[in-house]
């Protein structure tokens, strides 16, 4: 009954989405005022889809084995939280989550958009509904999450312990909210291209949505990186794996979009670029989801692979992105660009910023797909991996980081003050840091060395917008910008420290042996067999100290029986100045054990920086939204911010 309710809700929602499309066509071709009904239908569609998703969560929570999806992915012995998380830990459920977010986003736009022109809003809601329609079709025709199983089996198959991990449970929703959040920007862009109303008002309406999606993507990527770091036992945080790149590409586009929107909002300029970026950002989300689910690229992160599903997604990609690009080509002529920007102005700074971001995006895109294209054209198989991306994206990122220090200091229209004077101190700090690395660590590679210099410069430069004014009076949006840019510098210093100062110790040790890694003495005391609910393990006891204050670390190699798998549970201890990361491997014939130890100074700065970037975004979002809430009560705010 619950499953059938969910399925019915989904069908209804699909019907309403189709109706919204009809409304949109009506609105564009004639002057019928359909905004009210459009808003209403969008909200109902969102509610219905949320209901359907809720029904799915319910059948998983109740372990209703008569639903095929629950049987395949769950088990009554699972802890409750993983029963629920199992709802989106599979293809059908995650697709339902995707379309739910699409529909709910549309509902929120319908409920809260007051600043957009009516025709554009109608067109945007219509576009959002069309996006959802394709996914409804996919779900209802090819991936029904509510399919029944007769007779209902007694219990389910899905007890894979590897999927019962908090990181794995919450990683998909965060990323999806980000990916699908970008659909709103896409829809606004499509809507505005249809009606021709591309202006600063549109930019101000779009901005909170872009910010929200961008914040979630930043969090999703940062969390994903940390989770892979501690869970996989390899000591690395980014491998430039195709699935990782699939999440980075929308983020890069969204970052460029975020900055471009600011130009459109403040100056009414960069219309064509902003619209194109809005389309590209969501297109990257679609390309990403296609790459991850179709299995066409080899990856450690591979999902359940099915070329058939890949085909459907490819068709949706072709239709949505193709239509948007055609619309852009046809309507782009009406997007008149204004006068050129002054060389030293915030607009120019943002244009250069976007150029660099787009180049990085292009490199990641090319590197990820190049092996496929070369093989299609010439049959040759070549590989593109971390060494390529690090070599190219690294220097570009440093260049970007330098720009990040300069841009916020520039005024709109024309910067007449000697801004570069303000930057003297940060530049000095950067150069001093560089010199210090040369003196203290002459053997360091050039890229981490430059990373330190640029990070030091940016730490100082990012705070400058708050200097020379009362920081408490500065708008929240400015605080947000400062915090995010500061976060970039923090993350950069973490990456440089990791690259320059990480030490690794790989050894085969007998109990009693002491190994040195960095400043640490680590003694292997013993390795004892242990067991858990559904696993057995060899647990090593390591005693570590660097002078005084010893402590124990217990890394494990776990063996699960159903299905037979082997995992490394690393043991990590975090200090203010780094992490001691330990992994135990297999035993050899003589009773000695493989040990892998790292001392990673300041590595946590990488994810702390990522978190700061997201926090900055949240502050900026708050800064944009609060006045809207206050405006209802205070007319003077309305005058200032409308």
């Amino acid at each position: 009954m619950i499953a059938e309710t969910g399925l019915a809700a989904l069908w209804l929602a699909a019907g309403l989405a189709a109706y919204q499309f009809v409304l949109m066509v009506l609105a564009l071709r004639s002057d019928i005022a359909v905004t009210r009904p459009m808003r209403g239908v969008a909200v109902i569609q969102g509610v219905l889809t949320l209901l359907a998703f809720g029904m799915l969560l319910l059948v998983f929570a109740r372990s209703d084995m008569s639903v095929a999806l629950v049987f395949e992915n769950s088990n009554s012995a699972k802890p409750f939280i993983y029963k629920v998380a199992g709802a989106w830990g599979n293809h059908e459920g995650s697709m339902l989550m995707w379309v739910t977010i699409l529909a709910i986003a549309g509902a929120f736009v319908a409920l809260f958009s007051r600043r957009t022109g009516e025709r554009t809003l109608t067109a945007a809601l219509g576009s959002q509904a069309v996006l959802a329609l394709g996914f409804y079709a996919f779900l209802l025709v090819a991936s029904n999450p509510f399919a029944r199983l007769f007779p209902a089996p007694p219990d389910g198959q899905g007890l894979n312990p590897l999927l019962q991990d908090p990181g794995l449970a919450f990683h998909p929703p965060t990323l999806y909210l980000g990916y699908v959040g970008l659909s709103v920007a896409f829809s606004f862009a499509v809507g505005a291209l249809l009606t021709g109303e591309v202006d600063s008002r549109l930019a101000r309406a779009m901005r909170p949505w872009v910010l929200g999606a961008w914040i979630l993507l930043t969090l999703g990527i940062t969390a994903g990186s940390y989770w892979a770091y501690y869970e996989l036992g390899w000591g690395g945080y980014w491998f430039w794996d195709p699935v990782e790149n699939a999440s980075l590409m929308p983020w890069l586009a969204a970052t460029a979009l975020l900055h471009s929107i600011n130009v459109l909002a403040a100056r009414g300029a960069l219309k064509a670029w902003t619209m194109m970026l809005a389309v590209i950002a969501f297109s990257m989300s679609m390309v990403g989801t296609f790459l991850v689910r179709s299995g066409i690229l080899t990856s450690v992160h591979a999902f359940a692979i099915d070329p058939q599903r890949g085909t459907f997604l490819l068709v949706l990609l072709a239709i949505y992105v193709g239509a948007a690009f055609v619309l852009f080509a046809v309507r782009g002529a009406s997007l008149k660009e204004g006068t050129p920007f002054e060389l030293v102005s915030r607009e120019s700074g943002l244009v250069v910023n976007n150029l660099l971001l787009s180049v990085v995006l292009g490199i990641v895109f090319l590197g990820t797909l190049y092996p496929l294209f070369i093989e299609a054209l010439s049959g040759e198989k070549l590989s593109v991996g971390a060494p390529y991306f690090n070599a190219l994206a690294g220097p570009l990122a440093l260049l970007l980081a330098i720009m990040v220090g300069i841009g916020p200091l520039l005024r709109w229209r024309r910067e007449r003050r000697p801004v570069f004077g303000q930057l003297k101190i940060p530049a000095l700090i950067g150069v001093s840091a560089l010199v210090m690395t040369i003196l203290a660590a002459p053997a360091m590679h050039i890229l981490p060395r430059l990373g330190f210099g640029v990070a030091a410069y940016l730490i100082a430069a990012s705070i400058l917008p708050l200097v020379g004014r009362n920081p408490l009076r500065a708008p929240l949006a400015t605080w947000g910008m400062v915090v995010s840019h500061f976060g970039i510098a923090v993350a950069l210093s973490g990456m440089a420290a990791n690259a320059a100062f990480s030490s690794e110790r790989l050894a085969i040790a007998k109990p009693g042996e002491i190994l040195t890694v960095g400043p640490w003495q680590v003694q292997l005391e013993s390795v004892t067999p242990t067991a858990g609910k559904n696993w057995t393990a060899n647990e090593a006891e390591l005693r570590a100290s660097r002078g005084q204050g010893a402590f124990t670390l217990k890394p494990e190699t776990r063996y699960y029986s159903d299905p037979p798998t082997e995992t490394n549970e690393s043991a990590i201890r975090t200090f203010w100045n780094g992490q001691l990361y330990t992994v135990v491997g297999k035993e050899d014939a003589s009773g000695a054990w493989q040990l892998r130890l790292w001392w990673k100074p300041f590595v946590t700065l990488i994810w702390a920086g990522g978190a700061l970037i997201a926090i900055g975004g949240a502050l900026a979002l708050l800064g944009r939204l609060l006045p809207l809430l206050r405006r209802r009560r205070f007319p003077e705010w309305r005058r200032r911010y409308a």
Partner: protein, 154 residues
């Protein structure tokens, strides 16, 4: 054609077709299936560092550039596969003997093709990859040429 491989992590390989339905969903493989392994222990230098720190650093840098033939989504530095271990041993032995990392890489490319190098080589097929940043920068600069007023123009 079936083939056996020790502890692969790539669920796309045919060896894994039997596991995919069992996972039936998000199969992010955090662990390696305990499949048939060989009867012998890992090679001596597979999991030991060279005593000379700079040689070890060279070896590590090279290992991170070589793609694991079994797991295919990892470098031999990170892979648990036995063949990866044997390759790490090969790399360390040769570097300890004084061979240059680039020579070892070329030797392996002669055996397996450029596929095994995560760093694209300088062959013509890889030129677009290396020229891309410059090309993209120039293309981008040309596209925005009308947007920024340079001194003395117009």
């Amino acid at each position: 054609m079936n083939r056996n491989s020790s502890s692969p992590k790539n669920p796309a390989s045919s060896k894994y077709r039997i596991w995919v339905p069992a996972f039936a969903g998000l199969t992010i493989l955090l662990g390696s299936p305990a499949l048939a392994d060989s009867n012998l222990p890992p090679a001596y230098w597979a999991n030991r560092q060279l005593p000379n720190a700079s040689q070890e650093a060279q070896a590590q840098a090279l290992m991170e550039q070589l793609r694991c033939l079994v797991c295919q989504g990892q470098s031999i530095a990170d892979s648990d596969a036995e063949l990866a271990g044997d390759m790490r041993d090969l790399v360390r032995r040769r570097i300890a003997a004084g061979e240059k990392p680039s020579a070892i890489r070329s030797w392996l490319i002669q055996r397996y093709g450029t596929w095994i190098s995560y760093r694209p080589t300088d062959e013509p097929a890889a030129w677009p990859l290396w020229l891309a940043p410059l090309a993209l920068l120039l293309a981008g600069a040309w596209l925005i040429r009308g947007r920024i007023k340079l001194k003395g123009s117009r």
